[in-house]
């Protein structure tokens, strides 16, 4: 489906499969932004969380089909990356005046400078893939990180 390698930005340490449902979006943001900082994608989890929250004010990031794609762009993003989280059960995700049940969350970290087109291309590819049912099925069935990456590469 694409000529870019998602595995380069969707790293093992940024993928959480079958976690307990989050209390709410804020709870999820706390967990994921901390991960981004620990993995070295962002220099400051708090500043990155503020960027995610700012994006939420512009419109919903709830996408239907149990999917949400919050994303933040700020200077604290050291390198662009994706975090993925699959919850055991859906939780209520409120975003831009809408709310829905969410199980699959892709959190995107986008750097302020646009020098790194390759990574932006990868993020764009992922966004495009979310419109396809086969990809959504894979998200629900992948047994492990390797399984997920393997599945993505074979779409």
């Amino acid at each position: 489906m694409s000529n870019v390698n998602l595995a380069e930005v969707l790293l093992d340490e940024m993928v959480i499969l079958d976690c307990e449902p989050f209390k709410d979006k804020d709870d999820m943001f706390d967990t994921m932004t901390r991960r981004f900082e620990e993995a070295g994608f962002v220099s400051d989890a708090k500043a990155y969380k503020e960027a995610l929250e700012y994006r939420e004010t512009l419109g919903p990031t709830y996408m239907g089909n149990f999917v949400a794609i919050p994303h933040g762009k700020c200077k604290e993003v050291l390198k662009p990356g994706i975090g993925f989280c699959r919850c055991k059960e859906p939780f209520i995700y409120e975003s831009g005046g809408e709310s829905g049940e969410v199980k699959y969350i892709f959190v995107l970290a986008i750097s302020d400078n646009q020098e790194n087109d390759y990574h932006l291309r990868v993020l764009a590819t992922l966004a495009g893939m979310l419109a396809h049912d086969e990809f959504l099925t894979l998200l629900g069935t992948a047994a492990s990180y390797e399984d997920l990456i393997h599945g993505i590469n074979n779409l």
Binding site: R55, L58, G59, P60, T61, M63, G64, I69, H71, K73, L108, I110, Q114, D117, L120, R121, L123, A124, T125, A127, G128, M129, L130, A131, H132
Partner: protein, 98 residues
């Protein structure tokens, strides 16, 4: 029929590309030709040519931010369906509601 579209969003990554895929997918399912110009963080991609615009039966604008070079569509206003990327992603078939 021939469908053309432009997608753009605030951050220029997520919704722009998801909406583009959603539009291409629904057109394919319905047997329509389709070209989508993405105006995102990577600049303008798959830019629509004057011929594409002239021959289009339906023009979809799915944008949250202003469209670059919108003057290209002057004279074709009656073919334009205006929506938002988020709406297209949730229900791609709305592009045919015009």
């Amino acid at each position: 029929m021939k469908v053309i579209a432009i997608t753009s969003c605030a951050t220029g990554i997520a919704h722009t590309y998801m909406a583009a895929e959603a539009i291409m997918k629904i057109c394919k399912q319905n047997g329509h030709e389709c070209k989508v110009e993405k105006q995102g963080a990577l600049g303008i991609e798959d830019k629509l040519r004057a011929r594409d615009i002239k021959e289009a039966d339906l023009i979809v604008f799915a944008n949250d931010v202003g469209i670059t070079k919108v003057e290209r569509f002057k004279g074709y206003e009656d073919k334009i369906f205006q929506t938002k990327p988020h709406e297209v992603i949730k229900d791609p078939s709305i592009i045919f509601s015009k």
